[in-house]
Amino acid sequence: MSARIGVYVCECGPNIPDRIDIDRVLEEISPLKDVAVAKRYRLLCSNDGKKYLADEIRSEKLTHLVVAACSPRDHEKTFMKVCLEAGLNPFLFQMVNIREQCAWIFSEKSEATRMAVKYIRAGISRVTLHEPLLQKEIKATPDVLVVGGGIAGVETALSLAGQKRRVYLVERSDALGGTAARLGRLLPHQGTDMRLIQEKIEHAENNENISVFKGCEVEDIRGFLGNFEVSLKRSGGEPPPEMFRVGAVVVATGFALWDAFDPDVTGYGKIDDVVTSLEFEAMSASGKILKKNGSPPRSVALIHCVGRKEKGYCSKVCCLYSLKFAHQLKDSQPAPDVFEFYSDLCLPEKTDQDVFEEAKKRGVRFLRADDIRVEGRNGKIRIAYRDGSAEEAVEVEMAVLAPAMVPAPDSDRLARMLNIPLDETGFFKEAHSMLDPVSAPISGIYIAGCASGPKSIPESVVQAQAASGKILSVLMLGKTLEPEVKVSTIKEELCTGCQTCLNVCFYGAISFDAFRGVSVVNEAICRGCGSCVGSCPSGAISSKQFTYQQLFKEVMEALR
């Protein structure tokens, strides 16, 4: 049976006929080989238009459809749906953009008309080479692996378990809660007290939908969205727990404190009573903020931004927790002198300013300081610093460092295992830091909390809830997944087995079949970018709907 192509030019109201002579276009297109129908219609994306198009496909017995209208970014999907309803494979359709990239940019009507004819000819000559493609469906496991049992991991697990998902919560240490559970106390807007965090942990431990694996790490993960296979190992070396399947993975591995600072500058490890913020939190949690000799400090320096310059980013939460420390110190009797050594104050949340103003009222001294050096002098701690051009110094009995938050140890190992990238700071990279901040660039893998960079507790909780929401909207119970259709395919007889494609595929969608000596595409993972096609030296790879032949047809018409 020979092809019967239907070409429909949409007027898009006045948009297209104002700038393109549609009758002239139809005159040129109608006589072309295999064109059975060439017509114009006032608005194809309207309900009437869609019905008209479906009727035409059926009554004209079209084998292929070309719609010349707006950008495919606007209505390609609309017309593919029409094809499907009218019984035409939606991939035997080509959309030609004669509005945005023709009518609207060319000022002379004759030129716009000439270019429109060119584009439509290109569409016609490529559409005859289209293959009827099928949308595949993949069964998906709705269960989820959460790596890291800090506040972000616990919140993710609870949110998902609430929707009847089996959650595997894997925590390297022997307790859930992470850093948040080790804090002395919280500021008012982070929850009234630590009991709320403990309650969350208990709920996670006791939830029948959550399997908690403490003292465990991920040994291996393989697979893709909907179908990951996971094995764990126990840190203690006991036999590992069972292997299991999940549909999605949440990376909630948190952070560590930077500890590579110079002891000659910070005094840490050399001078008594110079402690890190987390050591101070531990003292605070035990209710005893005391010097090494057992007496309470009469003066305390809180030193911000330790490592900010070296790491190149702000850790966001240190200013606020240093203010929290200041308040806490001022609460004790007798209240010590408190000095905040800061370089810039980062207090962005709506309640932060109040905490700051209140601290000033309570006599906390704020010193804008550069080039801070912590020195030991006669059993006291001397903080030397520069204020503008003046050299200054303050003597205190205790100094608390606020080191930069850095990626959790072994983040690189987990990243390699999951085939997801870290960014230049070493934290996990988001699919898009602004517009898709809880997704990793690989489908099915999500990031929550400090794993992608410094965050406060409320921000981590929000991310955990967001990641859960994304997972619940992708892995719906009883629903299958629809992978990309326009994927890469490899002609085995042309493949030389050089494996260049394996290296360029960002998604790990290509593997090498050593027995047959050829590369193989996993269509469930392939996203259809065509990078492998561009890289293949023997031309063995092709991407569906963007084959060389189809693109060459477009080029040929462009140069006619």
């Binding site: 945005e100 023709c102 609207w104 096609v533 693109l551 080029v555 462009a558 140069l559």
Partner: protein, 141 residues
Amino acid sequence: MTQEFKPNLVGYLCNWCSYAGADLAGATKLEIKPTLSVVRVMCSSRVNSNLVLTALAWGADGVLIAGCHPGDCHYEQGNYYARRRFALLKKILESLDLEADRIQLSWISAAEGKRYADIVNDFAEKISRRGPSPLRNHSKI
């Protein structure tokens, strides 16, 4: 004489950034010279020497490849591959004594309609001044 010459250009645009940038140029009604025919690809990394050289061999006076800005690739690193391939292809053209400035690689985001219009108009202007491709009359499709 070059005033009369209207170049015939092919533009391979990535679907996510540059093609959307071209749409935006249209939506904001910027004027572009009718010299460049757009061929949409999913990613600039799909464009290799085969696609570019074929267009030149068939008589294109210039070929534009446009993708997402570095760091913005929809597929994470496709534009880096495009950049490497482009650098290599330029060298190949130079070594064959073909006019390497008839090919151009540009980064155009979905928000840069004006940049798209400027790049296409400038490229057309540049190629107009250069005159027809020497390959034009050698091979006709």
